[in-house]
Symmetry: C2
Subunit: 204 residues, 2 copies
DNA sequence: CGTATGCTCAAACGATCGTTTGATTCTCTG
DNA sequence: CAGAGAATCAAACGATCGTTTGAGCATACG
């Protein structure tokens, strides 16, 4: 654990790791603070409660992730020559960049956990703070897939989201073959996911 | 809670509900036994421990689910006129039948949870007991998609599995429009999932 | 220098967890 | 019917949980 970082940052980083490994309930504050090298009471002092710590773990990553997603989307949304692949790239690339970053490689597993848990308070938090991102992407998908009914589109987006979340939660776990650079591997994976998602979204 | 069923069955049914709602860690034996209308000590008496109870919750559903899957697969595997849709039907239909069954409608959410949790002991249990099912399906997919490399096929199956697990964990939650029968709705959903999975698996 | 403020610390709080115990009740067989 | 074995029960076990407390330490400002 990096002892030069602030106590809050050390807690957030250790929490991300333990939440990914053992889940939100399974990771205790005692394991967490011990791994971070801080006192047990530091969590309640800096974050107020364990639940608020969970929210901050999400906020730290999702703020930048969704900012990057919206920035990438704004460059292609509404344009007449925009393709489905462009929109999917805007959605997938920032997430995979986060997964490839050493410090954030575990966050997608945390996110996948939160997806599987139908915990209402957490889902409400995610919906309130980041629901507008998904809404903008959905609007652009609807524009590019005019033949699909609203109901059909929601279905397919849900399936694609499930597949991507599942896949990205395992990204970085798989050993890469020698000789392939990190950047090349990421680019390859992005292309892979885009092709899969595009096929699932646009099939007749 | 059905008070005519045996104590073991009552515990398993209540456990399935609470595991789906609150997770394996989040659901306590006290909540569980109270919901089942049995004594707290009954879990340790009949199952030995909470972990073994979790395994039995999986075993009760997965034994019949995978038996139905293998039975359906054996009717089409290796046949010269078998299509990708046939194999996917053999994989999806038994799961959706389980989800539509009133008593088993929550199990897919439990399964989705187990998928998201990278808990090693549980994954090892699933792999040891039901890994051969996935292996047989994979072999048949490989036969029908000869152009795909081994690596590519694993990738796509993983993505499809993620999408289907995600989708089926939410099945039964969505309110159906009036007039559509349960059977018709299920048939419609099966066709939907098959089309999506086939598109994702077989795209060039 | 004195003190105010932000932070860390060991220790304890009450609650709840999974599990065990020993007595009691039920069920069935000889 | 008598008695053995299976099942259920209330109660308690030690452990661990999230949170709180109050003293101690640091840094900065008058």
């Amino acid at each position: 654990m990096n002892s030069s970082a602030s106590t809050k940052e050390r807690i957030l980083t250790a929490a991300e790791l333990l939440f990914a490994q053992r889940g939100f309930d399974g990771a205790s504050l005692r394991q967490l603070t011990a791994a971070a090298g801080v006192n047990l009471a530091a969590v309640n002092y800096h974050f107020g409660s364990k639940d608020r710590l969970v929210e901050e773990v999400f906020r730290r990553r999702l703020d930048t992730l969704n900012a990057h997603r919206l920035a990438a989307l704004s460059k292609v949304a509404g344009q007449p020559d925009t393709t489905l692949d462009d929109v999917l790239d805007a959605f997938i690339r920032p997430a995979l960049a986060l997964s490839s970053d050493g410090s954030g490689s575990l966050f997608m597993r945390v996110l996948a956990r939160a997806f599987a848990e139908h915990d209402d308070t957490l889902r409400q938090f995610l919906s309130e703070n980041y629901g507008h991102v998904m809404r903008q992407f959905t609007a652009e998908f609807a524009r590019l897939l005019p033949k699909l009914s609203r109901e059909e589109l929601y279905w397919r987006i849900d399936l694609v989201t499930g597949a991507l979340t599942h896949a990205m939660s395992g990204f970085g776990m798989i050993q890469r073959k020698g000789g392939v650079s990190e950047a090349a591997h990421r680019e390859q994976t992005i292309a892979h996911l885009i092709r899969f998602a595009a096929a699932g979204l646009s099939h007749p």
